[in-house]
């Protein structure tokens, strides 16, 4: 689906009233099937932008149009149908720890499954071959029936990406897909995502800290800093000077010295039950 942002402003949900907006006066147009990487230092508003595009958070000002309609003016049912057509992969893979990989991956297809089929799939997964194919793209075929909490952080992140392959979506919004992956796996995952998106004519928007990966795989790069668009250029035109200007005072991130901390708090344990009973 195509995206159109006009003078968009959005605030972080937990922001104090006087704090500056997370996104300011953003103008962005994406055609169907385009692939865009969003780069920028920490706090630039990349995650907030993805949340706004995924209709998880309403913009405070400006216009958002997905596929030519403003999602926040739609009635509930139409909005739900629209949501089924997009897919957001958060930075921390949203996988319940004791669930099996096959169920987690097939959950990506829930918008397209009926209620009875979804519930039946809990007892016996309805489409094992599709889940297997999706995992093979990320080199995880042998982990199909393992429990999510038995996987490493990188494997969990790849399972989160494999969910996108099963979603009936025409817009993929991926937040930091490579943060827990080693360079070889990162290249493989990136190549798989990009080629599959091109094949299916899916609009792909990914935020990345690894600028070299962004430049290597994406035709269009958007630079964000402090909630504002710094540049919106084809990858070939992004020069080292522009990058230095974008990451001014955040050079350590440009050199990938500071890894994002999010994925190290991998699976939070279920809180211990408070045992206060009358016995």
């Amino acid at each position: 689906m195509n995206i159109d942002l006009q003078a968009l402003e959005a605030r972080h949900p937990a922001a104090l009233p006087g704090a500056p907006a997370a996104l300011r006066a953003l103008n962005l147009q994406l055609a169907v099937g385009e692939q865009v990487a969003i780069i920028g230092p920490s706090g630039a508003g990349k995650t907030t932008l993805l949340q706004v595009l995924a209709c998880a958070q309403p913009p405070t000002q400006g216009q958002l149009q997905l596929g030519g309609v403003n999602p926040w003016t739609l009635p509930a049912r139409a909005l739900r149908r629209l949501r089924g057509q997009l897919f957001l992969a958060p930075q921390v893979p949203p996988l319940p720890p004791r669930q099996r990989v096959v169920t987690s991956v097939l959950a990506g297809r829930l918008p397209a499954m009926g209620l009875w089929a979804s519930l039946r799939s809990l007892f016996y997964p309805t489409d094992i071959p599709a889940a297997y194919e999706a995992l093979v793209h990320f080199d995880l075929g042998d982990k199909l029936f393992d429990r999510v909490d038995r996987l490493s952080g990188g494997e969990r992140q790849r399972v989160g990406l494999a969910r996108a392959l099963l979603a009936p979506a025409s817009l993929w919004l991926i937040d930091e897909p490579l943060s827990a992956l080693d360079p070889m796996r990162a290249r493989m995952a990136m190549a798989a995502l990009v080629s599959l998106a091109r094949e299916r004519q899916v609009t792909l928007v990914a935020t990345l800290h690894q600028v070299d990966m962004a430049l290597a795989h994406f035709p269009r790069i958007i630079g964000l800093r402090d909630g504002q668009l710094v540049f919106d250029l084809p990858a070939a035109q992004v020069s080292p000077e522009r990058l230095a200007h974008l990451y001014d005072q955040y050079e350590h991130e440009l050199r990938s010295e500071a890894l994002p901390v999010a994925l190290h708090a991998a699976t939070p344990e279920a809180p211990a039950p408070v045992v206060m009973h009358c016995r």
Binding site: P96, P111, L122, R279
Partner: protein
Amino acid sequence: MKPTTTPDTVSVAQAFSTEAANPPWKLPPPLFNARCRACWFTAALLVLVVASFVSLELDWAAFASMEAARSMGRFVAEFFPPDLSPVFVNKVAWAAWETLAMSALGTVIAAVLGLALAVPASRMSAQDSAWLRSPTRWLLNALRAIPELVWAALLLISAGLGPMAGTLALALHTSGVLGRLFAEAMENIPTGPGDALRTQGVGSLRVFFYATLPQVLPQLMSYTLYRWENNIRAAAVLGVVGAGGLGQLLSFHMGLFHMNKTATILAAMLLMVACVDALSFAARRWLTR
């Protein structure tokens, strides 16, 4: 500023003064300080305890006198030897099985009912209006507040004498307890998986089965097994009002003063409680491996 004096030159006036010998900041704190909340609280507690003992007019002689001790001793002596005739042990075994079945079935029904009530009683996400939350929580509190014995006495009217009333009583009371525990567990889980599915537009029932339940299931089972330990004790005594099982046998024989039979029944109760405790502990360990 008083001139410093050595001890042997303390003046007569000072020796006879009614002021404290030490400066105020060295004195021990007053026993009751009207400004201190804890003092008021302790005073209230003491008043409550004393008033309780006084108003109940307890029969202290019953505890303390020789007569009472001798009568207690005679009473305890009647328990031995316990009646171990095969016929009676068989009867006790069947009653124990009935009690075990009551507690197990009651707990299972309570878990299902509790889960069904916990869903409306919890707030699934920040956007969830959860308008059913308050009424359902009131219902759960009402179910929980009434003890199993009172439920059993009420249900005997509809269900008649026998273990079904006991099972339903256990189920109703425990569903209140479990419902509240389940709702709190469901509200405390990380919201990531549920949010991801909701962003895709998945309905709340499927979000519950695919995101909430997998995260919270081990805790739910642990709570249920822990409640089973409590319910076996409760089931053992429900029979006193006529709900079957060991309790009914106990109150029958105690009413006829068959103390050695009562001793057997008590021993069976203790044994069953110990078994269920051990089973429940082992099951909880196995589930969270």
